[in-house]
Amino acid sequence: MNELIRFSDEQAMLLETASAFCREKSPIHAVRALLGSDHGYDRGVWEEIVALGWPALAIPENFGGSGLSLAEAAAIAEPMGRHLMAVPFASCQIFVAGVLAGADAALQAAVLPRIAGGAIGTVALFEQEGDWSLTAGEAFGARDGETVVLSGAKTFVCDAAVAGFVLVSFVLDGAPALAVLTEIAPERLRREIVIDETQRGYRLDLDGISVPMSKIMTGTRALAALDAVRDAALLLNAAAAAGGIAGVLDVTVEYLNTRTAFGRKIGSFQSLKHTCAEILVGLERTRSHVWHAASVLGSNQDAEIALRMAKTEAGEVFTFAGDRAVQFHGGFGFTFDCDAQLFLRRALWLEYSFGDGAHHRRWLADLLLA
């Protein structure tokens, strides 16, 4: 009887299956081979993932999904992070979380079965200034009869070029609102050059897009959707980072057990060994935070505290582990060929998505210290 962490047989099975799947489908040479590709992922692999039903895990059964939750999705996100797999899995989960929390029944029925059938969804939340606040954006909508016309632009819209649906945030009548966009014209997208070459981020030009009110969430629905989007993003981001820490620690330990200097394995030098121990300690704490957060998701304030703690710990430990991985490989660590950089880039990408440690600690201070 464990009150803090619940981990079902279902989750355990998914974790095991997904670990084997990602190990097989995403060896490091495959990750590298995709760096220069258009969409950053292997279509065949994604089709297998769709066939396994993973994008539809948290979609209710009446919409063609499995009726599970993000707690199960996290069991897939962790191994994906470990093997640097880049598929639109997290984009879809975050999109679905927003739609489930904020869309009315008709909109859900219009969208969710399509995702369950393999269509890709993503979210468009951030803007030029790089502010992490989900309600500080300046994109806005102007009413025009039964439709709303959008203006402004969004940035870091992941996987937008392959997305059939985009959940976009904007201001309507002075308050946060969200719209589900379909069929984004390619000329509205500009691919961004991002630090993690496994990821695909786009700038989305909203000017003049006209959306019917039936696809718009306002008021408390919009706020609920934004909270759900944030929660989903924090959990999956932290789970992916937990996987990443384990992955980069493997790379480092492997090198420390092979490379020699001064006639000994470099892993026998304590400044390296003890730093690895410190990373291991961070990994253990991170995984504990992540699986606790997954257990309390949906329980209001407890969940918010747990998620922000998980994101903070995961992000900082992963970046530290990636940074040290580069250093501990010496001159080789400075090369593009060394895998340390792949992990460091992923770590920075994750840390600076949805708020870094200092950002979340400020929120946590208010939640914990009054």
Binding site: L256, Q270, H274, L280, E284, R285, H289, E313, R361, L369
Partner: protein, 396 residues
């Protein structure tokens, strides 16, 4: 689960009603700083009272004096003692290291002879591992034990013997065969301390307190039956002892062994401490620091919860237990140093000063926090253990 809930209520009420009166002397912070007879008698009586109420050794076998119940009951008692900050129980080495060891590998006679006295604090235990010339390098222990008829004769010296002054028994690591390689030459003994030839020299700690001794053996003759296991098994048994000591294994009798100043106390202090005329708790950097500690603290608590779920520890099952001491003790040391900084200029006061915050208990607690980063294997040694045994890195 209702049974546990009822039990929690019963225990909470019992500790509220039976908490001993505040003594007119300063209580030590942990079992390692028991330095006066008055302190010792107070804490020993308190342990006996808890045991007699049935709240110690609850998960130990009934036939030896335990409660024969599930561990969950003892966990509730421990949590309640910590939450109510009642005085600690002094026989930590008996309850948590020697006791579980005897139950795990002792003879039937050992169990009948020792367990009850450990629980009711009749028999205080101490540990003779470290020596003046070697501590981290425990396998290099040189104290000699020579078999002579029905006895072993001990010569040499152990040091940093916590509770040495009050102990009736010692778990001792000594060399029976200097010809053999360092590990094989060691043996393990359960030593009666009131043996002629065993002498104690109290040592003063960095806080000014007492609580450990140097222990001298000069032709001290102990019964041959004091040997635990066989000759040459000392190292193996010492390592098993350390898994209990470092909290890497269950089986302990329970009870808390220190009154811990925790994060909650730090937050309270931050409300009264001042920065630029305002409560320190409003300072954004102090808030950031406190949240950092909160995330770590929570992380360790959650590690204990995750350790119970095999599917979430599959890859490195020993990672959480073997990193436990390092994580918890280093966190605590840094937290207490931060607590001093919160006091502003008053951080420079010491125990006994009329204006010292909390009578100087924070300063004392910070100094005493090194007991856990040094004692029981230093943090540097713990980091080696994590690096080598958890991650598989080569030895130094």
């Amino acid at each position: 689960m209702n049974e546990l809930e009822d039990f929690r209520r019963e225990v909470a009420a019992w500790f509220r009603e039976n908490r001993p009166a505040e003594p007119d002397f300063l209580l030590p912070e942990s079992f390692m700083e028991v330095g006066s007879d008055a302190q010792f008698a107070y804490l020993r009586d308190w342990q006996r009272k808890i045991y007699e109420a049935g709240y110690l050794g609850m998960a130990w076998p009934k036939e030896y004096g335990g409660g024969g119940k599930a561990q969950a009951f003892q966990d509730i008692v421990n949590a309640e003692m910590a939450a109510q900050k009642v005085p600690f129980v002094p026989n930590t080495i008996g309850l948590n290291w020697a006791g579980p060891l005897i139950l795990a590998i002792g003879t039937e006679e050992d169990k009948r002879r020792y367990i009850k006295g450990i629980l009711n604090a009749e028999d205080i235990w101490c540990q003779g591992f470290s020596e003046p010339d070697q501590g981290s390098d425990l396998a290099n222990s040189q104290t000699r034990a020579v078999r002579d008829g029905d006895s072993y004769v001990l010569n040499g010296s152990k040091i940093w013997t916590s509770l040495g002054t009050y102990a009736k028994y010692m778990i001792l690591l000594a060399r029976t065969n200097p010809q053999q390689p360092r590990y094989e030459g060691l043996s393990y003994f359960l030593v009666p301390m009131r043996t002629p030839g065993i002498e104690l020299q109290p040592i003063r700690k960095l806080t000014g307190e007492y609580g450990f001794t140097q222990t001298f053996f000069r032709d001290a003759r102990i019964p041959a039956a004091s040997l635990m296991g066989k000759e040459g098994e000392g190292w193996k048994i010492a390592m098993l002892t350390l898994t209990f000591e470092r909290g890497a294994t269950g089986g302990q009798a329970g009870g808390v062994s220190r009154v811990a100043l925790g994060l909650g106390d730090v937050v309270e202090m931050a409300k009264t401490a001042r920065r630029d005329g305002r409560p320190a708790l409003e300072d954004p950097f102090i808030r950031d620091q406190i949240v950092r500690f909160a995330i770590e603290d929570r992380g360790d608590q959650l590690c204990r919860a995750r350790a119970e779920i095999p599917a979430l520890c599959a890859e490195r099952p020993n990672a959480i237990p073997l990193s436990n001491k390092l994580r918890v003790s280093e966190h605590r040391r840094r937290l207490l140093r931060f607590a001093l900084s919160l006091q502003g200029a008053n951080a420079a006061r010491w125990v006994g000063d009329a204006d010292a915050t909390g009578g100087g208990k924070w300063q004392r607690a910070y100094f005493n926090s090194f007991s856990s980063t040094i004692g029981g294997g230093t943090s540097q040694i713990q980091a080696n253990i994590v690096g080598e045994r958890v991650l598989g890195l080569p030895k130094d």
